[in-house]
């Protein structure tokens, strides 16, 4: 009798172990698949911009609830929620500058709507938002750089003369005219996308990119001499370096 009990017990134990192993394997496989999907979702379409106040992409993907309240409260229908085939995490809000740019509402309704903090409530001045950064990517086709009077991006910029300035350069083609080159100031540009929308070319010569794509970064060890000097109040090197004089033999100064 007890032998039979043992047999039943051992069968039950065996069954429990195989069932658990099976479930664990299936879960592991599913987990692998989902991890693949998750890693893919971190890839970010270069022309899909996050709403104002969005946390850095990594944190954004951990916090956005994909509820669409920012989309609903955007008065300009700028924001959209990504569908599964979009090249940005499914369900998250984004906008395409060339289609509908951000109008930089002063009360920032999208941030106020966000229940999770994925759009950071610490953003209270819309001019502090950094949705992306404008870059004059096509210097060949830009009309202004060809010496033509366009400058539409400059005129439409909500922060004209701050985010975009015009730099006068010599028109090499005619040799007598001036070209007005739009120059973007990354410290001021909000990435609203008005310039990209307004660019008169068939395909915009000025485009907004997520800031991590558009900006280079100085090596962390790198120090700019003039900034360090300004901070210290004095230069770290003698103003005039007196290099040793090396003269041909027999010559004296």
């Amino acid at each position: 009798m007890s032998k039979q009990d043992d047999k039943v017990k051992s069968l039950a134990r065996r069954r429990f172990l195989t069932d658990t192993a099976q479930a664990a394997c299936a879960t592991g496989l599913l987990g692998l698949g989902l991890t693949y999907v998750a890693e893919k979702s971190k890839a970010h379409d270069a022309l899909a911009l996050r709403p104002p106040g969005a946390l850095p992409e990594e944190e954004f993907l951990a916090s956005c609830l994909r509820c669409g309240l920012c989309v609903r409260d955007c008065p300009w229908d700028t924001l959209k929620l990504a569908t599964p085939e979009d090249l940005i995490a499914s369900g998250t809000p984004y906008f395409t500058a060339r289609e509908i740019p951000c109008e930089l509402c002063e009360d920032i309704p999208c941030v106020l709507a966000c229940p999770s903090g994925a759009l950071d409530p610490a953003l209270t001045d819309i001019n502090d938002s950094r949705m992306g950064l404008a870059a004059l990517v096509d210097r060949t086709n830009c009309l202004s750089l060809q010496g033509l009077r366009c400058e539409v991006c400059y005129r439409i910029c909500p922060l004209i003369d701050e985010a975009i300035t015009l730099k006068r350069t010599r028109n090499e083609r005619t040799g007598v005219h001036t070209a007005f080159e739009p120059v973007i100031n990354p410290d001021v540009c909000t990435g609203c996308g008005k310039c990209e929308e307004a660019c008169v070319l068939e395909e915009a010569a000025i485009k907004i990119f997520p800031r991590d794509l558009a900006l280079g970064q100085l090596g962390e060890h790198y120090r700019l001499g003039w900034e360090e000097a300004a901070k210290a109040g004095k230069s770290f090197t003698p103003d005039i370096l007196d290099l040793p004089d090396r003269l041909p033999e027999g010559v004296t100064l």
């Binding site: 069932d19 989902l34 991890t35 609830l65 994909r66 369900g91 409530p121």
Partner: protein, 317 residues
């Protein structure tokens, strides 16, 4: 067993058309009321979401992941809130309050009541189950009923590993609503996939075995005051209609048969409170019941305990 065999032709008929007898004896409305009420509830919630952008009153905005009622009261999917927690993001108070409200609400109305009264996937898998009965599709890959808890665990662990709310990339429950309210894109493919999975691969496969949201609401509903109970179980005539219709039929024997030593309450964790068993039972065995949350468990236990005692007594001589 012998009774089952002798009733075989009748069972075959009722399996294809459960609730027929109830319709004949109790009338059409009585045999379909909870089905109709559930469809109305599902439609009402969706309609409120759909019409709000079109009218000036902000009834309910957002979607099932997170929403806002009348421009003020927040609602947040509590499982989603937990995922942000394991993704190590500190939620704003609005979403935290929203999650507590939703968790409290579904605790009150019975956990998986979400599944049968609100979830947009329910009509899809119900349709698959209906077609399975009508077309007599019998083959089914049996998944373990506890698979959903493995998936639930996975859904909560993956944000910690990847830093991404992974489940939300593929969650069909959220995707249906998001699709209907904000643009479907290719999201319909997932919906079709779930329908076909339930129809051809595994009976009640998605809602009854895999969905981690259902599993989560099941855990909330475990201690819920609103339950379905086989109060008049002694009247049961073994017609099997409830087995054919119940999305979680494995919970029925314990409640229906006193011999199993359990109380008449249907398993509060798995039961979706859909009320279809109440509809299709011509003997009116089942009914909704409101219990004091603390007495629910103890009541079960005492009844079970008494049962075992009487069993022992009858066995001793």
């Amino acid at each position: 067993m012998s009774t089952l065999k002798s009733n075989a032709p009748k069972n075959k008929r009722t399996e294809r058309n459960p609730g027929k007898e109830a319709t004949e004896t109790l009338g059409w409305w009585a045999a379909h009321r909870f089905l109709i009420l559930r469809r109305l509830s599902q439609l009402t919630v969706l309609t409120l979401f759909l019409i709000t952008p079109l009218i000036s009153v902000k009834l309910i905005e957002g979607n099932l992941s997170s929403s806002r009622i009348l421009g003020t009261v927040p609602m947040t999917d509590p499982l989603l809130a937990l995922q942000t927690l394991t993704a190590l993001h500190a939620l704003e108070l609005t979403a935290v309050v929203g999650a507590l409200i939703v968790a409290g609400l579904y605790w009150l109305v019975g956990g998986r009541a979400f599944c049968s009264w609100v979830c947009p996937v329910n009509p899809i898998t119900d349709l698959a189950a209906y077609l399975r009965r009508k077309l007599e599709i019998r083959n089914s890959h049996r998944l373990p009923r506890n698979a959903r808890y493995w998936v639930l665990g996975l859904v909560l662990v993956l944000p910690l590993v990847t830093g991404v709310l992974v489940w939300e990339l593929v969650n069909p429950v959220a995707m249906v609503y998001r699709g209907l309210l904000f643009g479907m894109g290719s999201g319909w493919m997932l919906i079709v996939a779930i329908f076909l999975f339930d129809l051809l691969v595994s009976q009640k496969g998605w809602c009854g075995h895999i969905c981690p949201l259902g599993a989560f609401y099941g855990l909330i509903g475990k201690v819920s005051p609103l339950t379905v109970s086989a109060v008049q179980r002694e009247k049961c005539d073994d017609c099997m209609d409830c087995y054919a219709i119940c999305p979680e039929p494995q919970i029925l024997p314990a409640a229906l048969k006193p011999a199993k030593g359990d109380g008449p309450l249907l398993n509060t964790q798995d039961c979706t409170r859909c009320g279809r068993c109440i509809d299709v039972c011509s003997q009116q065995v089942f009914s909704f019941q409101i219990n004091k949350p603390d007495s629910t468990d103890s009541q079960c236990r005492t009844q079970a305990g008494q049962q075992t005692i009487t069993d022992q007594v009858s066995e001793t001589p």
